[in-house]
Symmetry: C2
């Protein structure tokens, strides 16, 4: 297995929260070397306690409004979708985002799992979306490509997203929570796999890492929560958009290890209220995303995302005016992204004046 490089200066941990971050105590041995971006949801006058010794910046709603001005309208309020503001203001290449009710899980051997280290391993090794490897991640220790795997595909593709899983409380929707209130995930599946090209998946934002440079502008968590007709579909929305764009740009998405310990099921009755339009709409949204073909001219994530926003308005708009608003917010998000993340100097810029291109 390739030696992992240290990402202390290349990765931010983004945490959306409404409460004191005592959960960080358990993560201290793993997170303390990293910089945290905390996005405070809800009432900005509340004080969020952060345990001593962590290096962090904290943004509340007032900060979001100050930084983005009128474009702040694209950032959700009273929904964990607000976490994507952290993706926007980060200056690092990699992001790891985690919910504040997630704790350190253990391997079956009892060993504590360094989730961040596994995400980094996932992101720094290639993905294999073009052909299925039956022994799972061929870049894992003691593994490889099996007989019949085309040699021309064994270099793999760059990995854009690492989707981690959850022991204890599984990520179920409200109806499943209601039907199976006592179900717990106890199955530790010792695998990382690439989600094949052309296949959509339900991306959960609870334990998620990605390469901001490769896919950042697609990690918009939509319009959810306060003033919106829908909640708890923020990460799903980002996952559908990001997967379609990864497929188009030939980037990889992995799922599986690492596990975190998800401590508390949210209220299924509250969830049902938030989700019910999503449950209904997703029957149209999924076929929409499954049928998306992006134009060849879309060669950047931003290009792809704007194209997607237009298609959302055109093809999902007729379902509900919400999708018109969402499509507009997707465009606003990209404008905000480009403002806060100006493109690097164009390759045609002369070496003597690199700043000229940056200022454009």
């Amino acid at each position: 297995m390739a030696q992992l490089r240290d990402l202390k200066d290349e990765l931010d941990i983004v945490i959306p929260t409404i409460r004191n971050l005592d959960f960080l105590e358990m993560w201290r041995p793993f997170f303390q070397p990293y910089h945290l971006i905390i996005v405070q949801d809800g009432d900005p006058s509340n004080t969020i306690g952060v345990p001593e010794g962590f290096d962090y910046e904290l943004y509340n709603r007032n900060d979001v409004n100050r930084v983005l001005g009128p474009k702040a309208s694209c950032i959700s309020f009273k929904d964990s979708a607000c976490r994507c503001f952290g993706f926007l203001v980060s200056k690092k290449k990699y992001i790891f985002t985690i919910d504040d009710d997630c704790f350190v899980a253990k391997e079956p051997s009892g060993k504590e799992i360094n989730a961040l280290e596994q995400h980094i391993r996932n992101l720094l090794t290639p993905s294999t979306p073009l052909f299925f490897n039956t022994l799972y991640d061929p870049f894992a220790n003691g593994s490889d490509f099996v007989r019949g795997y085309p040699f021309s595909l064994r270099e793999g593709l760059p990995t854009a997203i690492s989707h981690g899983l959850w022991l204890n409380i599984p990520d179920y929707d409200a109806p499943t929570q209601l039907v199976k209130p006592r179900e717990r995930n106890t199955r530790y599946v010792d695998a990382v796999m690439t989600i094949p090209k052309g296949t959509l998946f339900p991306m959960c934002g609870m334990n998620l890492a990605f390469d901001r440079e490769l896919i950042g502008p697609a990690m918009y968590f939509g319009l959810m929560g306060d003033g919106q007709p829908i909640g708890r579909y923020d990460d799903m929305w980002a996952g559908w958009c990001a997967k379609v764009i990864c497929d188009h740009l030939l980037l990889g998405v992995k799922t599986g290890l690492p596990y975190i310990w998800h401590s508390k099921a949210s209220n299924p009755f509250v969830n049902l209220k938030k989700e019910y339009k999503g449950i209904y709409w997703q029957e149209d949204i999924i076929p929409f995303f499954q049928s998306i073909v992006l134009r060849e001219e879309c060669t950047s994530v931003q290009d792809c995302y704007i194209e997607l926003a237009n298609k959302v308005k055109e093809r999902l708009g007729p379902i509900d005016p919400y999708f018109e608003k969402l499509g507009d917010a997707m465009v606003t998000w990209i404008e905000a992204w480009n403002e806060l993340n100006p493109p690097p100097p164009a390759q045609t810029a002369t070496v003597a004046h690199p700043n000229v291109a940056m200022k454009n």
Copy 2:
């Protein structure tokens, strides 16, 4: 989890071999209630020893020639591809096929794995090829569909193939064997997953089960071994054909559990000689299968397979005359299949004369 029904009268175990079947001793508690079909490869005058107490029929090359007449040309000689003769002569709904160097594996807990029971579970529960479930098999005990999984897809599709894995000696090609002679698979991944629609996989014949009624005619292991320019691609060929047809007919393919213990690596130098044309050709074969679109009128496996045979001759024939011969053999195989497995009475036949349709 659904109660499994007993398949003693509905499943045959097919074993290709050139030696005494002492390996059956270890499988006795699991296999003894089932009927075995043993396909003896190589010199028919050799005697294959079968441990006492097993119910079996044994076919050597003379039997193959007697049963199939001139159509016996489609059955490979001196290659484990001959196993598909067993699929042809079976009268059961399900097949489990296993190599004679595969033994009972153990779970990490030390418990012996009843591979056949897990295959049956895989075949009798639905597959989910149309959308990815991040918690793996939603029909496994203690598992379900995660948030964001469309409800309209939760019934799943019928499962046609269950592809099991191998602990100890992994199924590597000759170059990988040569480079990593000491690599052993020790990673027990406690998962079954559906291979998504539109994604090809390398199907290994070592530990494999399928529903003969759903996909049997596609499980042809090609022309390999004696007199052919290629070997060790028999199961791969069947896997590519079967997956394309499963995708077209909306049938599922699962991979993962159960594991068997693969005891002995075959000789990598001998393997390299058998494989080298396959390694070269697969770079064209894979894109060919990835681009296959079967006509809507193909509604039976046989229809699909004949269409595929024509495409093989047309599009792979230019690579090597071998593919012309293979395409012809694919057609012969279907003729043999239809001869030995006459279609059930057509639904238009009157109830009073069911045999009329059968005789046609």
